[in-house]
Amino acid sequence: MTAITHRSYRSRPGPLHAILLAGTVPLFLGALLSDIAYYRSYQIQWSNFASWLIAGGLVFCGLALLFALANLLRAKRKVGRPLLYYMLLLATWVLGFINALEHAKDAWAIMPASLVLSFIVTVLACVTAWVGLTNLRSGGAA
């Protein structure tokens, strides 16, 4: 019993890890909603909001990625859910970074690529958080 508790502790996000991971969802979702608002209104302030929300998402996502990497390195078998979670999180960050660069273009030059990227990144962030936060129930594959 002790051993099982120990194993599942490693694969489950701790509170800080969980906050960082879950925080990526509203940040990237907020960016998507801001992009939609800019697309519909041409009001540039929405585009500014989206840029900062993505920057925040990248900070949260990047720190969560460090936790995920540490967990993965400590896991005995580097397969299954911990690996899937890490890869999803990495993909989220990389696409989020590309989205940040896309948002650094001026005015309407960000469209439509930023809208598409924000959608993909938001979906990825949701899936990743889901996978990451349900690791606990996976019963310690790592």
């Binding site: 041409y42 009001q43 540039i44 302030q45 585009s47 500014n48 840029s51 900062w52 920057a55 990497l69 993965l72 390195l73 580097k78 690996l83 890490y86 890869m87 990495l90 993909a91 990389v94 970074f97 590309i98 940040a100 660069l101 896309e102 948002h103 650094a104 273009k105 001026d106 005015a107 309407w108 030059a109």
Partner: protein
Amino acid sequence: MKGSSPVIMMSLALLLSACGGEDQDISQSLGPDPRLPEPQRGMLPSMKIAEPTSWGDQLPTVPQGYAVSAIATDLQIPRQTLVLPNGDILVAEGRGGNAAKLKPKDVIAGYIKARGNTSVESGNRLTLLRDADGDGTYEVQTVFAEDLNAPYGLAFHDGNLYVANQDALVRFDYQEGQTEASTPPTKITDLPSAINHHWTKALTISPDGRFLYVGIGSNSNITERGMEAEVDRALVWQIDAETGAHKPYATGLRNPTALAIQPGSGQLWAVVNERDELGEDLVPDYLTSVREGGFYGWPYSYWGQNIDDRVRPQDPDKVAAAITPDYALGSHVAALGLDFSTASMGGQFTEGVFIGEHGSWNRKTPVGYKVTFVPFRNGSPDGPPIDFVTGFRTSDGKTRGRPVGVTVDPRGALIVADDLANTVWRVTRTQ
């Protein structure tokens, strides 16, 4: 972890491959009919920032038959100069702008670009230089006026000295021989100064002294600060010197950084800095005669009717009305100085304009960083530009100076302000 490195490598390769295209032959982007490639921008804009170094014992390079010397050093960001009737030179010193950083990009790009500029504090003053005995050494250097707000454009007519601060046009009473202003300046009118993304206020005056022309740059590269920020921007104002009443004289000029009246015809000319982040060879900065009531494209289109898709909402009617400028100076050269030559300059430089090019940032291979001469015939540009002052960049890619304002001294000299070396250069004939 194993699976991650290909992902990272792929995304890095994607980023790098997306970082802008190849340069075209520079000469194709000059003159009345420049080649305009397709707009392009990678994931990152091309950036090549001037790495400052000192002149040491070196001097700028000038054509054979001409000599150059520094007539003032250790200034506080010299921008534009004015030669007074008695031969004294006034130098406007300062740096303006108070644009908020709206995006993460503004924070990062601002930090990078600042490395290519002087770290000296804004002078906010006019310095007077005098060569009393005519030996070419300006032995008198005084502060003519201080506590100005980023002064830039200078103009003089009949005892009135006009200074375009970044927020107001002001006038000094000037008596010949003064080395400092006797009274504080009188405000003629406020100038648009909110945000001041492009803060320089270029200035010239009609030959009869009745009208002043002020160049007011846009508040963004291409409307990324919102359309509301562009009210009263990207245009030239005509201002009544007596009353301060003003009206837009020409619009759609993204950043008209220097204005000059053509001797004889009285025609207003401008050099204009065009938009960035459309590629290495877009959009050409230009020299143009300025038509009253004319619209020159910004932000909706460039070089006539070439639509800029980064602007929303678009305006097809404005695009249709856009005037094509007269003469392309090359993309990203950052023309900041303009003055008409006189016969006293000699040689092939008697008819035409001198242009100070501050130099590029948005280009892999730097361009500009020199003073060039566009020859005129029958009152219009005719033929390719000729280098007049060069050597501002070293062979190992560092930057010694960046030219700004150029002023022709009717006694036969060209005055060049250098805002990186904080020096004023004077080029004279030796033959």
